[in-house]
Symmetry: D3
Subunit: 118 residues, 6 copies
């Protein structure tokens, strides 16, 4: 059973629209979507480190959906809340206080990922 919550809503919209986009058969977009997946596979750096890199990049570029996506992946890879807030700290120092509103929404989504009531 899939009850409505921020995590399910995000994943469902993402999957629905990715299917529409990929259904148009633009080869460059298809390859970019594949390459995006390859980027975060284990290599010299492990998956957890790569997902944290993807998260901090999404934070400073202030892309809420990218932040949500990588928060989910970071949680799966074992990032702790204390580690997450150190990533938030790097992003807010490098990117400035304009990152704060995205940190607020990211913090709220992180709580949702842990089934906590915000």
């Amino acid at each position: 059973m899939n009850m409505s919550n921020p995590v399910n809503d995000f994943n469902e919209y993402r999957e629905k629209m990715n299917a529409i986009i990929l259904g148009k058969n633009n080869l460059v977009l298809k390859r970019l979507f594949n390459l995006d997946t390859n980027t975060y596979e284990a290599g010299a750096l492990d998956v957890k480190t790569k997902e944290m890199l993807g998260l901090v990049a999404s934070l400073v570029l202030r892309c809420d959906d990218c932040i949500k996506y990588h928060l989910g992946k970071c949680k799966d890879a074992g990032t702790t809340t204390e580690e997450l807030y150190e990533i938030f700290a790097v992003a807010n120092i490098v990117g400035g206080t304009i990152v704060i509103p995205h940190t607020r929404r990211g913090a709220e989504y992180w709580e949702s990922l842990h089934d906590l009531h915000v």
Copy 2:
């Protein structure tokens, strides 16, 4: 009769707020709004090409409302879905995967412009 849908909602809010802004009689803003209109008129480049330029610029700058506006204009100027996805491809390669969430919302709006059910 103007039923509620994403295209009408966007246009109505845009017109309502533009009227409020222009009603304050700030001369610089008035001239900029006029100049914005002039920019996309036919010249050495035709209207369709200029609207595609406006769209790709809006995509890489990740401005959802600007994307919606130029998607409407691109459709009016005869841009096909296959051409649109090549514009999406340029934007996502130049601007990176942070453009993907805006591509999702743009793809959804494009379907709405064609009265398709997403």
Copy 3:
């Protein structure tokens, strides 16, 4: 009594999430939040000028929540509507027409701050 309106909604979400963020005791974030407050205190420049600087910076960086925050502070510091639209003009000329959608939402919030019906 706190009726639902855009200004109260913004302030309540901001306060709720700031409490959650600061509750995690990340020292860098705590100090940055304090430093953010210090930045806008009167010095060689007065509070009104500093808040206008914070507003124009938020506008060109296209951060809607930052814009709302500084609009509230600008109103408290005595910025008039005519002055506000000159700040909007600088932001739209420096940052281009991608700032227009944020100007629309900022103009709407400014009306809400004055209890006008938009």
Copy 4:
């Protein structure tokens, strides 16, 4: 006699290239250049305040040439070094530590504007 220094070099290149650009007779660019000048004329806000707004916007958008231009205008309008560093502070807090390298180059240019030896 125009000896080579950072201020003269900047102004001469700017004037030479503006002449080439305006010489192509693109009407939109011509009007935008004029509108840019109008934006900083005295209105509800005085010239000094408007130039400080232009400077902080240029700082957070990290445009070195725009920063140099507005530093020159700010000096002409009577901005003091203490006031300037409060503008730098707002820009670095809002825009983050990525603004620091631009602050370094701006600080160096400010010294040049005052004929100091850096």
Copy 5:
């Protein structure tokens, strides 16, 4: 014989560093470089249109090296100076006056591409 000029300098540095980067055999970077080439090949849109899209995207993102690269490609694809200045106009209206310094350097490079003395 390859005399020093802005066009040769740009191309030589670009080729030297691309060789070093690709020599490290990072598969994601290799594929992205290939995909970048595919993006601008003729499809529903012709090469000239795609290069103009790449140019305007580079202008509003204010990437001088990307601008130079696409200026070279636009010239090869037959873009005229009048068309180029209409692309400059779109970029400066969408992206604002912070695009002007990049327009200056782009205009200078365009002259170099045509062997004119600036």
Copy 6:
């Protein structure tokens, strides 16, 4: 003896200008500079991970001086060339091909840090 090379040139300019900036005694800037140092100290995440986060953030925000600074710190913390190129890969996928010119200059600086002849 300090021979001229890209690494020394960068460090010397940075130190000279930081001294000038901090000499003006703006309290907000002083505290931000201190906070910047605190951010990368070992906590739940180790120094090497934090420096890699700082590097990828600098890459996607396209700040050449920030990239150089964190490349030096990453090298000190033991980042290998293979790891570095995986960070470059994340940055170029998230931020797009506009990151490539910064990757070129970063790759060149990385070689200089290792005393290799580019």
